[in-house]
Amino acid sequence: MKKYELNLTVRSVERLHERYVLIKLTDDQPLPQMLPGQFVEVRVDGSPTTFLRRPISINFVDKEQNELWLLVATVGDGTRQLAKLQTGDELNGVLPLGNGFSLTAPCHSPLLVGGGVGVAPLLYLGKWYKDNGIDVTFLLGARTKGDLLLMDEFRKYGRVMVTTEDGSDGEKGFVTNHSVLQQERFDLIQCCGPTPMMKAVARYAHEKCIACEVSLENLMACGLGACLCCVEKVKSIGDEAVAEAPATNVCVCKEGPVFNINRLLWQN
């Protein structure tokens, strides 16, 4: 897919929570095609301690409104600066980057599992399923009720199950404790969230022999597969240069960020 560097225009910035903002962007031209699970490298202006671009996953693309949504967790100086953007401001982004979630796997009952700000790419993915006539279930986890993001949006595209660690909404516990996992059979799990959560979900999927994809967020610099900083060790099947090595380093930004768990070394 062709990549672009664009000066996008901020249409709105909505604070969803003390730690999260939803930035809606647009452009004079029709936005490029983007796929669920891909990301944008945004330039952060006006933060002296922020040198590199910040990779932000694509939360949603509204074709009719020509809008790109980014859900940003304010975790450091760079993301705090992004949260200060105002309507009409410019935001420079390099997009679309990486390989997103599989959209071709023949599946009837996909389960999309998200935690914290990791729910972001699942909204656009859920829309793809609805557009293609597939019933989707979202299983979303958060620390507390207030941390659950964009719930009304998720409900537009599928059934929504919730867990909170304090029991303030949905079932109490982690996503892997939710009763739906015992009661129903899913044939594909696609997951994004904190690494311990994704590892627990991957373990569950592995035990139940359910195909599973996870979206990694290793620390990145270029986002283009040039600097080789964001590497993840994967099984080196089919790579003739390293055929003798049990594992090889690949760039999460270019080969991922979405990986099938069978390729990762998480079970080892």
């Binding site: 990549k3 922020t50 040039a226 900083c229 090889t248």
Partner: protein, 302 residues
């Protein structure tokens, strides 16, 4: 339009803007942003005789106006480059230059000899300055004798333009440059990264997997500029300047300090089209100052 082409031994660059090894992949990663033909030379990722997995993650730490990396020369080896990557590059009209690294003078020489056979690679850049590998790399570039041993071994097996990339992690970089020149180098490029460290106070641990890494970005530019000036006055062979170049103004500073060409590195991560902007900016400055030929400003600062 000013005359922008410069000459480094047998290497003719259509403009003095090159890309630094390890920051521009194999060029192809940037094709959507820059017509590669517009770049004077593209120095591809550090290549070794045998495949290398590089260091463990984490390999990167952001710093004020820069970054540390400890990638550790991850690459699939010279044969993979010759068979699988070179065919994708050879018909693109720029100067393809391979950055060569190794763990012994023999490794360097064998790797260089295999690249010598590639028609569309007119030069190599010998990396005797990588701070992120235990064996070889910077170990050769920090003593005159070590640098000399590698350059001599490679010179016997490599017949095209030989550029040697110097480490700034030395007491006197001009001494190393002179030793490299005497051993048969056609050109020196500098600086490679400055060795640094980052700490996570919450975890009370080093951030990078091997503890240390190489510092690059605008924060190193004044150090690089000083060293380029010193080396340009110490050797007769051409000098390629790099270290924190982000704008045409930065590039012009290096040229005026005596660099015949410049490399853009970390800035490619911030703006994937920066190479083209720097080339255009150099041209605009020359035009607006009535300078007809970029060679007229090279070494303009006494």
């Amino acid at each position: 339009m000013a005359k922008l082409d410069v000459q480094i031994k047998d290497l003719r660059l259509k403009n003095p803007v090159m890309t630094a090894s390890g920051t521009f992949g194999y060029g192809l990663e940037f094709q959507d942003f820059v017509p590669l033909e517009e770049i004077g030379g593209i120095i591809v990722k550090g290549t070794t005789l045998y495949p290398r997995e590089g260091n463990d993650y984490p390999r990167m730490a952001e710093t004020p106006m820069g970054m540390l990396n400890c990638v550790g020369l991850q690459n699939k080896g010279v044969d993979y480059f010759c068979q699988h990557i070179y065919p994708q590059l050879k018909d693109i009209d720029t100067n393809w230059i391979v950055n060569v690294s190794g763990s012994s003078p023999e490794d360097y020489a064998e790797c260089a000899a295999r690249i010598d056979a590639l028609e569309q690679v007119p030069a190599i850049e010998l990396n005797i300055s990588c701070p992120n590998v235990k064996d070889g790399g910077m170990a050769f570039g920090t003593t005159c004798a070590g640098a000399e041993s590698v350059v001599k071994a490679v010179r016997q097996r490599y017949h095209k333009t030989l550029i040697v990339k110097l480490s700034p992690n030395v007491t006197n970089i001009a001494d190393i440059a002179r030793a490299v020149e005497a051993a048969g180098a056609d050109c020196v490029s500098l600086i490679n990264t400055l060795m640094g460290m980052a700490v996570d106070i919450e975890k009370r641990k080093k951030v990078l997997s091997i503890g240390t890494g190489g510092l690059s970005g605008p924060c190193v530019k004044p150090v690089a500029l000083r060293m380029v000036y010193q080396v340009a006055h110490a050797v007769r062979i051409p000098v390629i300047g790099l270290g924190g170049i982000t704008t045409a103004k930065d590039a012009l500073e290096f040229l005026m300090c005596g660099a015949t060409a410049i490399e853009i590195g970390t800035a490619n991560f911030l703006d994937p089209a920066v190479t083209l902007k720097v080339r255009n900016g150099i041209n605009d400055w020359l035009d607006s100052h009535g300078v007809a030929d970029v060679n007229d400003i090279i070494g303009a600062i006494e």
